[in-house]
Amino acid sequence: MIWVDTIVQGVLLGGLYALFAAGLSLVFGVMRLVNLAHGDLIVLGAFLILVIVSALGLNPFLAALVAMPVMFCLGWGLQYVVLNRTLGDDILPPLLVTFGLSIVIQNALLEGFSADSRRISVGGLEAASVSLGPIAVGVMPLLTFLSAVAVIVALNALFYRTALGRAFRATSDDPVTAGLMGVDPKRLFATATGIAMIVVTIAALYLGTRSNIDPTIGPARLIYAFEAVIIGGLGSFWGTLAGGVIIGVAQTMGAAINPEWQILAGHVAFLLVLLLRPRGLFPRAND
């Protein structure tokens, strides 16, 4: 019974990792860009929600809604002004610029908020739990997982059911030909990053409400997100969710054996997948 509980907790934790990863997956899917500042942007989003909560006295969920348009604009501008300049055949510029951005965001947050740990309070929800059969699960972990599923469903719908998603896929295939169809790849990329930042805001809400945050925890989140994306297979949103769940389950199982093995177990699961299925579990057919 203890193992079933461990696995359920792991699946729910995987929801959080899938939320971290979904934005990364979206940006990679559209423009083959790996943003090394992704984890720090999640932390930035969490601090933004924190500021809105304390300044306007809003409920964290409402505060996240307020933060979304701000983060969208930030992502749009960042992509349009900075990151678009780095796209090309050479892999160095995007890597080094986003790595620099990661350091800049971390230290700007340190300057603004100090190194103290903080938490976004959701009051009674934090301790609330519901019974699923014989197992009690926390309301917040459950909410996180359901949000992750909702985000994946929404991203799939956006990608495969809308004109914008069609343009994303077409531009990802061939930006020059997409240009002949009237697409301006630079604006389209900026829109994609903007949308990714909305997902980042949702991830930030749950990161900040479920654990303590400080300005330096971004890179670890980037690594979990990256592992989830690779395990799932590049370009597959459902794969990303599966990847997040695998990391989550591996971590809770590792922690059940020895609390110090939690993070290590997640990484080992990732390396095993890399060894056995280098292209991930659900690779997109035409990559």
Partner: protein, 364 residues
């Protein structure tokens, strides 16, 4: 073939600037070795820092700038080397000097094992893959109770004082043993730095170095003229791990205290190093030297401003990457054509080269 006579060709790599620089460099290195005679202990420690950062930077530059392997996980080898040295000294009772060498070999072995994973990833994924590997190594070593687990440990007090040469230095300079140990580690850093730069310079001037440059420029074409791109990249990855591991061990001989978080810090051992190389000029031997000076000047002048230092460093790094991707040295070298470490093979002589004349100068 109806080719003209093949006599009279010569190949030169020397330039006037380089000859001048070589003379200057010899004087500088001699001065640097003599430095313990006339500089303060704190300045000596600063110089130690500069030299070790330069070793790490030259290695990362070889890896990313020449072999195209952009790693953000080099802290794996710094930390692993440091821990290997600690194990040899604290648990095995070896002399730290010998332990440094063993640490390099341990890091090289680690690179062979991890290369098997990360070489399955391309480009940006290679980068994060190396980072994951570094995290795994950190987490595993944090389980090593004998070396302090997650909180870390210190070298036995006697270990550095009992190093082979410390006693001799202490007598020759009439200083205390702890200061003599500083002098020794400084000399080792200087030696490692000169050896690293010398090795990379030598490598670039060999056939393999030429092949490496060809792979960097156009991998497909390099394969079609018989260059084994994969083997060259592997060799560079392992060599760089060896030297990085030794540098890590040396840094921690001087620090004498280790913890997993410090020894595997991505900021200290990779972020700083990347900024040094990018700001100075990636893909040149001169770039990291310029970069380390800028890095150090910035650090000294912004020392009182806490995280502003890294913030400014990050912004400068981004700006250089976007607007001057060849770095400060690139800007200078493009304008003047000056190179201190020429690797260009210049063809001279022959039956008709003088007749037609050579155009164009040395370009980096």
């Amino acid at each position: 073939m109806s080719a003209p006579s093949s006599s009279g060709w010569t190949v030169e790599t020397r330039t006037r600037a380089a000859t001048g620089f070589a003379f200057f460099a010899v004087v500088l290195i001699a001065l640097a070795f003599a430095a313990p005679l006339f500089v303060s202990r704190s300045l000596l420690q600063d110089l130690f820092l500069i030299l070790t950062m330069l070793v790490l930077a030259q290695n990362w530059n070889l890896l990313a700038g020449y072999a195209g392997l952009v790693s953000v996980g080099q802290q794996a080898f710094v930390g692993f080397g440091a821990y290997a040295m600690f194990a040899c000294v604290s648990l095995g009772g070896l002399d730290p000097m010998l332990a440094i060498l063993i640490a390099g070999m341990a890091a090289a072995l680690l690179s062979v094992a991890t290369g098997f994973f990360v070489f399955r990833l391309q480009g940006a994924y290679f980068a994060i893959g190396t980072w994951v590997v570094a995290e795994v190594v950190r987490l595993v070593l944090a389980q090593w109770r004998a070396l302090g687990g997650g909180t870390g440990t210190s070298l036995p007090n006697a270990a550095t004082r009992d190093m082979a040469a410390v006693q001799w230095i202490a007598e020759a300079f009439s200083v205390r043993a702890s200061q003599a140990a500083d002098i020794l580690t400084y000399w080792l850093a200087l030696l490692l730095c000169c050896a690293t730069i010398g090795f990379i310079y030598w490598l670039l001037r060999t056939r393999q170095g030429l092949g490496l440059s060809a792979v960097r420029d156009n991998q497909e074409a390099a394969r079609s003229v018989g260059v084994d791109a994969r083997r060259i990249k592997w060799a560079v990855y392992v060599c760089v791990a060896f030297v990085t591991g030794m540098a890590g061990a040396l840094i921690y001989v001087q620090k004498a205290r280790i913890s997993p978080d410090a020894a595997f810090s991505v900021i200290d051992w990779t972020a700083y190093v990347i900024f040094i190389v990018v700001i100075g000029g990636i893909g040149t031997l001169e770039g990291p030297i310029i970069g380390v000076i800028v890095f150090f000047v910035l650090q000294k002048s912004l020392a009182d401003f806490g995280s502003w230092y890294l913030l400014v460093l990050g912004l400068i790094g981004i700006a250089v990457m976007l607007f001057a991707p060849r770095g400060l040295w690139g800007l200078f070298s493009d304008r003047t054509g000056i190179q201190f470490f020429p690797v260009r093979r210049i063809l001279k002589g022959g039956p008709s080269i003088d007749h037609q004349g050579t155009r164009g100068g040395p370009h980096g």
